[in-house]
Amino acid sequence: MTGRALPLRPLAVWLAAHRSAARELGFYARTFARSASSMLGLGLVLGFLLVAALGPWIVPYPEDGRGAVHLEQKLEPPSARHWFGTDEVGTDIYTRVILGARVSLQIGLLITLVAACIGVPLGIVAGYVGGALGGVIMRVTDVFLSVPALVLAIAIVGALGPGILNAIVALSLVWWPGYVRLVQGKTLALRAQTFVEAARAIGTGRLRILVAHILPNCVSPITVKASMDMGTAILAAAGLGFIGLGAQPPYPEWGAMISHGRNYLPTWWWYSAFPGLAIYLTVLGFNLLGDGLRDILDPRSRA
């Protein structure tokens, strides 16, 4: 090796030091790549992320996302100029569907993040500390899980008033119990393991055990659930948008677009059809990705 190869040295050193980790990573990647459905999921999710990131720059009519009106070309069917047709004020539906990706990404990320940030700590505490506190946490979780999330979210939006922000708040408030269940179960199993016992025996503090020993071992199932939840949260938010409690038109949210386009069925079918297709492909992507991740990260919990 000459001095010129220096920039590569850190990587080589890291690889040498973490040969087993690198091999494991490679194994995971190969297992993942062998499954066609996992790769399809990854492709759909990457495509979705790309569209969400580049949206405003790749759409043909950027001004249509900000409520532009071209009445002379309203309700035109799909064509070379307007791939998905136009709506009742003549805006390009393709443009609005593309811009909707970013909205959906934000919705999914926010709900999943807030839910995980509430649910994971509660689950770890309930599982590790147990006792009366753990019992209370689990009973509250059970009660929340006993009402379908969408119904409870409708109730909360009913109290807060319709709107995209309130819809996100409502869905976040009802989404966390699943994480408590998941993490509590995992923590209970880990607590009895020898390495935790050993840490306790040498006098490691409780907080340190939770953060340094239990939490890292919960990361895999949490990642899998989070990937699935990105899809289901987007689906739920679109549902709220559809019944008129979430995003309000002309905001480019897919559920609200479908709901609005419903008034123009059956003649102007493209209005509702394409946003729905976008939701389907996005949710499908996150679900397949989640499945694929579970197969490599958490194979025992496969259902």
Binding site: D142, S146, L150, V151, L265, S272, G276, R302
Partner: protein
């Protein structure tokens, strides 16, 4: 067994109390001003004040909570601003419709999902398996309301095969109520034309609502069947020359049904949420549509009533699933574990 049932019923009581805490928190704590919420969006300032005093909303929270729970125990769920009826009366009127839709969809999901799961497991990695896998990944990813709209577009509008929405056509008279369940009543009265019309109206909503449940039931049943079919006792049964059909239907299925049953319970809850969207699409006069119509006109009490009723329903379904476990699998029969 009896002890277990009593215990589970007591737990149900605790859960219901918890649910009341949640609905109370949503209606009295979440909004800035519950009096304004109760009075509706068009009320004047003095009306809001009157309501504040009338409903005791100027009292401490715990006093309000006691009053709230006592009211609900008496069956007082408040009044709908929109229909000008007691919420309880509205729920009694609309709930049978929802119950029929959800039950029908669940029956279809189980009737199709379990055999499909078995077929996929038995004919693993053939086209049957691939087809069911496509259905099962799509089922949980398709927005139910969109699927409903597209079915309306295709089957009802383009092909004109089925009605667009509602429960009965304008020309069909509903049967004299006995159970208030339209299907059951039409059957009992022998009103075949009504029954046929009701079935035609129910088909699309049922298909739409059952699709996600069908998908998950199929998936779980397939996975469990594959695992069960590899067990020693199945191999043994095969070695003894017991016919394949009998092995699958009698020995394997019963063992694979326990996780499937868990999924059925879970999905029942999902359906109670999904029915809100499906009823909206198909104009189905159930509690879901009632909740949505109330929510968009800021009519708050009915939404709370629907939330409580759906919660109660889901809890009862879970109770039924728990009891069914013991019947299916003697090892987890609660007499030993409880």
């Amino acid at each position: 067994m009896l002890v277990y049932v009593v215990k589970r019923l007591a737990l149900l009581g605790v859960m219901l109390f918890g649910l009341l805490c949640i609905t109370f928190a949503i209606s009295h704590v979440v909004p800035g001003d519950p009096a304004r919420l109760a009075a509706g969006p068009d009320a004047s300032a003095s009306m809001v004040e009157t309501i504040r005093v009338q409903y005791g909303l100027d009292q401490p929270l715990w006093v309000q909570f006691g009053r709230y729970v006592r009211g609900i125990l008496r069956g007082d769920l408040g009044r709908s601003l929109r229909t000008r009826e007691d919420v309880l009366a509205d729920l009694v009127r609309y709930f049978p419709n929802t119950f029929e839709l959800v039950t029908g969809a669940m029956l279809v999901a189980v009737a199709l999902g379990v055999p499909a799961g078995i077929l996929a497991a038995v004919y693993r990695n053939t086209w049957v398996d691939h087809l069911t896998r496509f259905v099962s990944v799509s089922g949980v990813a398709i927005p139910a309301f969109w699927l409903g709209l597209m079915l309306q577009l295709l089957v009802a509008l383009d092909l004109g095969l089925l009605p667009l929405g509602g429960r009965l056509g304008l020309m069909t008279a509903p049967p004299e109520p006995i159970t208030h369940l339209l299907f059951v009543d039409a059957l009992l009265r022998g009103a075949w034309a009504t029954l046929a019309d009701a079935a035609a109206h129910a088909l699309l909503p049922v298909v739409t609502l059952c699709f996600p449940a069908l998908a998950s039931i199929m998936r779980v049943n397939r996975a469990e069947m594959i695992e069960t079919l590899q067990q020693d006792y199945i191999v043994n049964a095969r070695a003894q020359g017991i016919p394949d059909f009998r092995i699958v239907a009698r020995y394997a299925l019963k063992n694979a049904m326990v996780p499937t049953l868990t999924m059925i319970g879970l999905r029942y809850g999902w359906m109670l949420g999904g029915t809100v969207l499906v009823e909206t699409v198909f104009d189905w006069p159930g509690i879901g549509l009632y909740a949505v119509n109330s929510a968009v006109s800021s009519d708050f009490q009915p939404i709370m009533g629907v939330t409580l009723l759906i919660g109660l329903n889901f809890m009862l379904a879970n109770l039924a699933v728990d009891l069914a476990y013991g019947w299916l699998d003697p090892r987890i029969r609660p007499a030993t574990s409880a």
